[in-house]
Symmetry: C2
Subunit: 335 residues, 2 copies
């Protein structure tokens, strides 16, 4: 890689991403990018980093997958606000071992994911690093002011919903780490390697105004529900038997004698949307679901704050749940 | 550091930066931040990373200085568009050796620099890394649509101006690296450790509409002038005797038998503003300068593209100048 000039490489990338939609007044290649904000919207900004060895292993993921994933991780944050993703900036730390073909692969993944979300690359920064490869994406999105969803609007009595299935990505990583038989676990592994953000569902939920609060499930269902209820000043009662578990997860958990619920509650990296729905809005949500716009499952109810977070199992027993996710400083599950 | 929870630390930081001006609809602490864009403006976005060992050495800079510097580096990009900085996001890679006190120092520097630029922290992401410490800042700014300055508006006959002095930061780094006598070089060293972005000057130049193109000097005067003339489709003739050199740089160059002009042309990290001024606007610029709003020096003239970049020395001899800056992939000056 040392033989290739940084500027030459960046120029190449610029050409690959050369589309400039109307809202981009000035794309990549100047001191800063310039965007035309849309009327009546908030500008949304989020940033997320993936570091080799911390967030992913190149033994388990290709550079192309990492490229797709870092876009998805950021898209998921914009989706959780009910927003539409628009444009992004990349900051890259290129490790010594990396080849130009690795960078090309990475950008292939970024391009794939950003194209399908209709995103424009508007800036970036590429640097050689003595350490592991890392990539930081900053994503700019927009949301109509009256549609924005935060973590803090949930009220007692609201139903709790989650899109898709939870626990798959964590089981996929477990499978890769344990070098277990991977037959039948392709779905789980793919969800770890190439999560898909719920971009369309998030925007739809916001437009239909069916939710009172929303968050994406990145740290794990219990941890992210914990954030949502904390910021809303409420508690949550889950119906554990209702958690949406994929057949692949159930099979994997059985095969490896692990609890599927542990993956679902504490696993993380699902990039599903978790949201609360006021009673009077549930009919509308069910309708959206029937029309095929949103795939979501009712998993519990918002309760008073003093009740904290608990889950009722299939036998009717109530369990206290301690929100727990992945804490990068601790390098282990965190309270 | 492993004893401290990431979430706990982030919560602490959030409190420190808790101000939320009117244009921030939703600050740090949700899935994304939400801003109210101002009418008639473009939203500006830029990102820049500093990596330990690549962009700075902790032997030469404190964490507080690194914090100040990463803000300045990004502010400089917004200034170069003629914009006003508003809000920023931080992505942090925390190395194993770092102590909590290092992080506090870093944030002290960030706070100092962001306060004096009236910036609001709106998001972030902190991760443990097996490699060197790095920090990526993404800065959001705004500029009135009619005032935005790009790299591509320079015309033949325009005068070339630069703010402040050039070459100091590079000489300061040279001084630190060579462990030379540092007496009398404090000014140079400080310009490497704690560059100051020309935020006010950039906005003033834009408001007064005196410039046809602008860029900040980060890679080195010759490299950045090279970007500006390439994107404007013109050439540049510099008056080498007019380059603004600080007394400290002249003294250091003499002491160490190096050419002060080399630091000025190829050094980088000046974070000054380089801009072209149409003839009919020069009077206005001189006025702004006299009123003390801008400190800038006329260093040359925009010429036809075919003349490339050249410099006339004090004896009237013309030298061809090859734009050269620092290329992180090559780890050496680059063409």
């Amino acid at each position: 890689l040392a033989k290739t000039s940084e500027f030459g490489f960046i120029a190449q990338i610029q050409e690959q991403f050369s589309s400039t939609p109307d809202f981009v007044a000035l794309g990549i290649g100047d001191d800063a990018a310039a965007l035309r904000p849309s009327r009546g919207t908030y500008s949304l900004l989020t940033t997320d980093t993936l570091i080799a060895g911390t967030h992913f292993s190149l033994a388990y993921s290709t550079f192309e997958q990492v490229g797709e994933k870092v876009v998805a991780v950021n898209l998921s944050d914009i989706a959780a606000m009910g927003g539409r993703p628009r444009a992004f900036l990349i900051a890259l730390g290129v490790s010594q071992e990396m080849q130009l073909s690795d960078l090309s692969q990475l950008y292939r993944g970024i391009k794939k994911a950003s194209r399908s979300a209709n995103l424009t690359l508007i800036g970036g920064n590429t640097t050689r690093s003595d350490g592991p490869f890392f990539i930081t994406l900053t994503l700019f999105g927009e949301v109509a002011k009256k549609q924005m969803l935060t973590r803090s609007g949930a009220c007692v009595g609201d139903a709790i919903y989650v899109t898709g299935t939870v626990g798959d990505a964590a089981a996929g990583l477990d499978c890769l780490k344990q070098s277990r038989v991977r037959k039948g676990s392709t779905h789980l592994i793919r969800r770890h390697q190439m999560p898909q953000a719920r971009t369309a569902a998030g925007a739809r939920i916001a437009e239909a105004k069916v939710a009172s609060a929303m968050i994406d499930v990145s740290d794990g269902l219990s941890a992210d529900l914990g954030h949502l209820i904390m910021q809303s000043g409420v508690g949550a009662a889950l119906e554990l038997s209702q958690l949406p578990l994929s057949p692949a997860l159930k099979r994997y958990a059985k095969q490896t004698q692990q609890a599927a619920l542990d993956f679902a509650l504490y696993g993380g990296e699902d990039y599903e949307l978790l949201f609360s729905v006021p009673k009077r809005k549930e009919k509308k949500l069910v309708q959206l679901r029937q029309e095929g716009f949103i795939q979501a499952t009712r998993i519990g109810t918002i309760v008073p704050k003093k009740e904290g977070m608990c889950g009722r199992d299939i036998n009717g027993r109530i369990h206290k749940i301690t929100p727990r996710g992945y804490d990068h400083f601790m390098n282990k599950p965190s309270a």
